[in-house]
Chain length 261, copies 2
C-alpha cells in the first residue's frame, strides 16, 4: 500500500500549483496527475456536471491504484467533495478545509476569497470559514476569466495585470486573500503588487500539502523508499497549452504527458 | 405556419449580434432566442458534447413551435449543423455557408478567420471556404478568451483591446476577416482599429439575415402581419451577465428574460 502513488486531479493546469507543493513536502512519494482539459473550465459548470466529472476522474485514479486522492481544484472541492466521499471508500482531500484550518490558526477575521463563478455561487468557502470562525467577515469575488487566462499562459502580461486589478480592486481591508482556485497562484506576483504588503496571499497548495503529510504519517501510509518520487501526468485532451504552462510552473525543460479517456 | 416565430440559439449572448441583424432585415417576424448560458462556453467543448447540447436546444425550439431555426453560433455550426439536419426535419440555417457565399461573391482570396478553439480545430470555416474558393489562402486563429470576455461584458476596455491585439497581430495581408464566433462583433470597434482600413470585417449575422430572408420568401414562409415582431428570450441559466450585454447590444433600456431547462 505505502508504495502506491498519490492521485491528484484538476480541470486543467491549475492543480499543478498544488502538485508542486506536495512534491516539495513529500518528495519521496509518487504522483499521478490528471488534468481534465477536455472538460475545462469546471468553474462555469453546474454542480451536477461537476459531480459527474469528478466521479470519472476519481474512477480513473482508482483504476491506477492510488492510495489517496487530492482534489486540487476549488470548484470541484466546493461542489463535489462531500458527494465523492459518500461514493468512494478511498481517502479524499480537498483544498478548502486545510486552508480554513490555517486561517483559524492565524486568527484572521477579515478574509477575501477570489474563485470561479461556480465556487463563489456554491458559497463553499464562506460556509466553511464561518463554521470555524463565526465572526469572520468574508468578501467574495468571482473571477471567471482568470482560470481561462492561466490555461492560455497569460499570467504575467499586461492583460493579466489589468484583469487582476479589475477583479480585486473592490476588496478592502482584508488580512488574508484566499486564492480559491488552484489556477490563481500563477498570478501571485501580479496579485502581490496589487494588494497591500501586509495581506497574506494564500496558496491553498501549501495547506493541502501540510494536511496530506499529516494524514499520511498518521495513517502510516508514507512511501519509505529513499529515491525521489516519480510523477506521471495524464490529460483528457492533449490539444491545449498545458505543457507550456506546466513547464514554466515546474521549472522543467521537459514534461511528458499521456492521454486518458 | 407563416405566423410562427423564428427560433435562434447560441451558447450565450453572442447570438444576439445575429438576432439584431435578423430583426433589422425581417422586422415583422417574431423571434424566440435561447442563450445556453448554463453550458457556456461551447468553444472549448468536444464535438460530441456540442451535438448533445444543440439537440436539446433545437428540441426546446421545436416544442415552442418555431418555423425555422438559426444556429447563431460558430462552434455549433461547425461541429453540429450537419448532424442536426440529419436528426430534425425543420429547416436549419448556420452561420458558415451564408458567409462563404458572400466571400465568393466578393472574389476574396486572402481570408482571415478568428473563432473559438473548437471551431478552428474542426476546420469548418477553411473546409467550406476551399470548397467554394479552391485557391483561397486562409489564416486561422483560435481566440479562446474572447467569447468569455464578451459574456463578462469586457468588450471595449483596455483588457479587450490588448487581447484582440494579441490574437490578431500575426494575421497579415488579408482582404477579409471573418468574425467566426457570433460573440466577436461585440469587439468590432477594437478590431477595426487594430486592422488596416481596407480589410472587410465580416459580421456573419448580416449574411445569415440575407440567407434567412431569401429562404423565407422562396418558401412563402414570411409573416404577413404588419405589426413589428415580438422577441422572447430564454436562458438556461439566469445567473449571468447576459442582460447587461444584450441591453447595450440591442440599445434597449429593458430586456425580459425567462428561464428554460
Amino acid at each position: 500500500m505505502n508504495d502506491k502513488p498519490i492521485g491528484i486531479f484538476d480541470s486543467g493546469v491549475g492543480g499543478v500549483t498544488v502538485l508542486k507543493e506536495l512534491q516539495k513536502l513529500l518528495p519521496n512519494e509518487d504522483y499521478i496527475y490528471i488534468g481534465d482539459t477536455a472538460s475545462f473550465p469546471y468553474g462555469s459548470k453546474s454542480k451536477k456536471t461537476i459531480i459527474e466529472l469528478c466521479k470519472k476522474r476519481i474512477e480513473n485514479l482508482i483504476d491506477m491504484e492510488v492510495k489517496i486522492i487530492v482534489i486540487a481544484c476549488g470548484t470541484a472541492t466546493s461542489q463535489a467533495l462531500e458527494e465523492m466521499r459518500k461514493i468512494f471508500n478511498i481517502p479524499i482531500i480537498g483544498i478548502i478545509k486545510p486552508t480554513v484550518k490555517y486561517l483559524k490558526g492565524k486568527n484572521y477575521k477579515n478574509i477575501g476569497v477570489i474563485a470561479t463563478t461556480g465556487t463563489i455561487r456554491s458559497n463553499g468557502w464562506e460556509e466553511n470559514i464561518r463554521k470555524s470562525i463565526p465572526d469572520a467577515k468574508v468578501q467574495n469575488k468571482a473571477c471567471p476569466l482568470l482560470a481561462p487566462m492561466a490555461e492560455e499562459g497569460w499570467t504575467n502580461n499586461e492583460i493579466a495585470k489589468l484583469a487582476v486589478h479589475e477583479y480585486i480592486k473592490d476588496i478592502k481591508d482584508i488580512e488574508a486573500l484566499i486564492l480559491g482556485c488552484t489556477h490563481y497562484p500563477l498570478f501571485k506576483e501580479i496579485i502581490e503588487r496589487e494588494l497591500k504588503s501586509n495581506v497574506d496571499i494564500i496558496n491553498t497548495g501549501e495547506m493541502v500539502a501540510e494536511e496530506l503529510k499529516e494524514f499520511i504519517y498518521a495513517n502510516n501510509l508514507e512511501n519509505s523508499t529513499e529515491k525521489s518520487g516519480n510523477t506521471e501526468i495524464f490529460l483528457t485532451d492533449l490539444e491545449c497549452n498545458f505543457i507550456n504552462v506546466a513547464k514554466s510552473l515546474m521549472q522543467k525543460d521537459r514534461i511528458d504527458i499521456q492521454k486518458i479517456d
